[in-house]
């Protein structure tokens, strides 16, 4: 498979701080690639390196096998949707979209035709004469996309463009963005701190922390088999239990919890007996009730409160100093729970991941 974007060992230092630290990535043509990380993890810096607004201290950037390191931003086959969209307030929608074509010296008639077509494609036919200030948030978003897509870039970079939208519109745009990407077939590199955006839209997601990639994988792999404790806790909700390794056998680790009791999980790396370790288990994998299969790990917890939220209803329980969450099924399988009572929770060991604590 051919790569649209290929980077090796990118480093960008600001003084002593390495904002981007030995990052390598490979994005296949036509795919939707997300970089997910908390603010300050270096994802914006990485994106600016790709767009050409910043130069790497070392490492190489290749786009369609062309080395890009010294190519100025206006000469790269890369376009970008900015965080605050950066629509030119002094120009109409059509002039915004025609801006890049004009720079390529496309004739006026051709420009108008292309502008009209792309406006139709993003679902805004006939709005070319409006000023950006007259559009709604979602419409502006589409204009920003159209402005880039009309240039048919090899690579489209998106810098958290949904951040400014309200929740409902954001949900809607997530789906739409994915459809548009499929329709245009352009390679998208999308950065976000919102794990739901990354999981819903992407073919592959890179989780970034302190300038490095913790894990690069498909969304479902990322969710089910996190490679590091950071990924486990950053992507989706997770419960964490600390303890000491009692034994490792048959792809299972047995842990003695600090709060007492013995539980099992899947080791993410080699673990030695006696080592400190943390077990991560998702709320929906934690089942409530005493009558669970014998192979399950169990813990006894104190119920703090129940949080009703339709299909996402959960209970909050306490084990020692830790707060744990478990899914509360709404199918009547769990009876009425009173705060303060003891609740027994259990999980299939295959669903839990255990990391050596040193990694945390």
């Amino acid at each position: 498979m051919s790569s649209d974007l290929y980077c090796t060992d990118l480093v960008r230092r600001f003084g002593e701080h390495r904002a981007v630290d030995q990052v390598s990535l490979d994005v296949p043509a036509g795919s939707f690639f997300s970089i997910l990380g908390p603010s300050g993890c270096g994802k914006t810096t990485l994106l600016r390196l790709l767009a050409g607004f910043d130069r790497p201290d070392s490492g190489d950037i290749f786009i369609r096998d062309q080395r890009m390191n010294t190519v100025p931003p206006n000469k790269r086959p890369v376009n970008m949707v900015f965080q605050h969209l950066a629509l030119f307030p002094t120009m109409s929608v059509a002039d915004n979209i025609g801006y890049g074509l004009k720079r390529r010296k496309v004739a006026a008639a051709e420009r108008r035709k292309k502008t009209e077509r792309v406006l139709e494609q993003v679902g805004l036919p006939g709005l070319g004469d409006r000023m950006p200030q007259q559009l709604s948030g979602g419409q502006r978003q589409r204009v920003a996309l159209a402005r880039c897509l009309v240039l048919e870039p090899t690579l489209l970079l998106l810098d958290e463009p949904l951040g400014a939208l309200d929740l409902k519109l954001r949900e809607q745009m997530k789906v739409e963005l994915k459809h548009l990407q499929k329709a245009f077939g352009t390679t998208f590199v999308y950065i976000t701190h919102d794990q739901s955006e990354a999981l819903v839209m992407s073919d592959r997601v890179a989780v970034m922390r302190n300038g490095r990639f913790d894990q690069v994988a498909a969304p479902d792999v990322l969710y089910r088999e996190p490679a590091t404790p950071f990924v486990a806790s950053f992507v989706g909700d997770n419960n964490r239990l600390d303890g000491e390794v009692l034994g490792v056998d048959n792809e299972r680790v047995r842990l003695r919890l600090d709060t007492g009791g013995e539980v099992s999980g899947r080791p993410s790396s080699a673990l030695a007996v006696g080592q400190r370790a943390s077990l991560f288990i998702r709320p929906e994998s934690m089942l409530i009730g005493a009558d669970l299969p014998a192979s399950f790990s169990r813990i006894e917890t104190q119920l703090s409160t129940t949080l009703f939220d339709g299909a996402n209803s959960r209970i909050e329980t306490r084990l020692g100093e830790r707060e744990l969450f478990a899914r509360l099924p709404q199918d009547g399988s769990v009876g009425d729970l009173q705060p303060g009572t003891t609740v027994s929770l259990g999980w299939e060991p295959q669903r839990a991941t255990v990391f050596a604590e040193a990694q945390v």
């Binding site: 767009a51 607004f53 206006n74 000469k75 970008m80 605050h84 950066a86 720079r103």
Partner: protein
């Protein structure tokens, strides 16, 4: 106090009365000046002698002792001098203002804070002092040069170049503030977006940044023109034989007032009002 807080009746009426008095206070001198520009009397005061346009159009050569503004060579040439000075002050101070705005809003360098304060200095220096210091420096230099080498630096003698220099000294600060305020609201990402869409840095500046700054540049230009036109304190210290209008009017006024002065004043008000109105409409 505010609308949602109840106020007593007498408080409201007292407040209203005060507002009325205030706006009468503001308007009265100007209205009176304007009205007396049309009084058919040789002295701008009561009683009202009837309406006349003599103070604009009368020609002493044709009709006795009155000389209207449009036949008063002294005032007309002073008006022309003022326009000339204001034009150059506008061009120079707006150009400097643009460069300064970019310097302070877009470039990071050591000692920027200090330089910014230095940039503000002309605002806290009284206009008379500004004029005097420029007079002492340049005219003094011309004297020295003349004394020591016999070269006459007429450029540095009191005259229009010094007047322009003196006005540029403080008007530049104002135009810098106006343009910088607009540039501060400019999102630098817009320039990056332009580069990203294939523009070179220079094209990006002219297609994206400059159109954004244009209203502020027009505003600064109108402000600079008016400030220059109306300036007296700095100008009076630096004029030579060609006197700008304000200085000429001042000299006339000391000799005694005639309704021609009212006519000039009304003309000035009308022109400034038009200029101000045009600027306000644009923004």
């Amino acid at each position: 106090m505010i609308r949602s807080v109840p106020r007593s009746r007498w408080f409201i009426s007292l407040y209203g009365l005060y507002l009325l008095a205030f706006f009468i206070y503001l308007a009265l001198p100007l209205v009176v000046t304007a009205v007396f520009a049309f009084n058919d009397s040789n002295f701008p005061s009561l009683p009202w002698q009837g309406f006349t346009l003599d103070w604009y159009f009368a020609d002493a050569a044709e009709s006795g002792n009155r000389t209207g503004l449009f036949h008063d060579q002294g005032l007309l040439s002073a008006l022309w001098v003022s326009v000339l000075v204001a034009f150059w002050v506008t061009v120079i101070s707006v150009a400097l203002g643009c460069v300064n705005a970019v310097l302070f809003e877009r470039i990071q360098f050591r000692g920027k804070e200090l330089l910014y304060l230095v940039m503000l200095l002309p605002l806290v220096i009284p206009g008379v002092i500004l004029g005097v210091s420029i007079l002492v420096f340049y005219s003094g230099m011309a004297n020295q040069v003349s004394l020591n080498w016999g070269i006459e630096l007429d450029l540095f003698r009191p005259g229009l170049p010094l007047v322009i220099a003196g006005q540029v000294a403080f008007i530049t600060t104002l135009s810098t503030l106006i343009i910088a305020a607009r540039l501060r609201k400019f999102d630098p990402q817009l320039e990056e977006a332009a580069l990203n869409l294939g523009a070179t840095p220079i094209v990006a500046w002219f297609t994206v940044t400059l159109p954004w700054l244009l209203p502020a540049i027009f505003g600064a230009a109108a402000m600079a023109f008016l400030m220059s036109f109306e300036n007296f304190n700095t100008t009076v210290m630096l004029t030579g034989s060609d006197t700008p209008l304000t200085v000429a009017l001042f000299n006339r006024l000391r000799e005694g007032s005639t309704p021609v002065l009212n006519a000039v004043a009304l003309l000035l008000m009308a022109v400034s009002a038009l200029l101000a109105m045009a600027t306000l409409r644009r923004s």
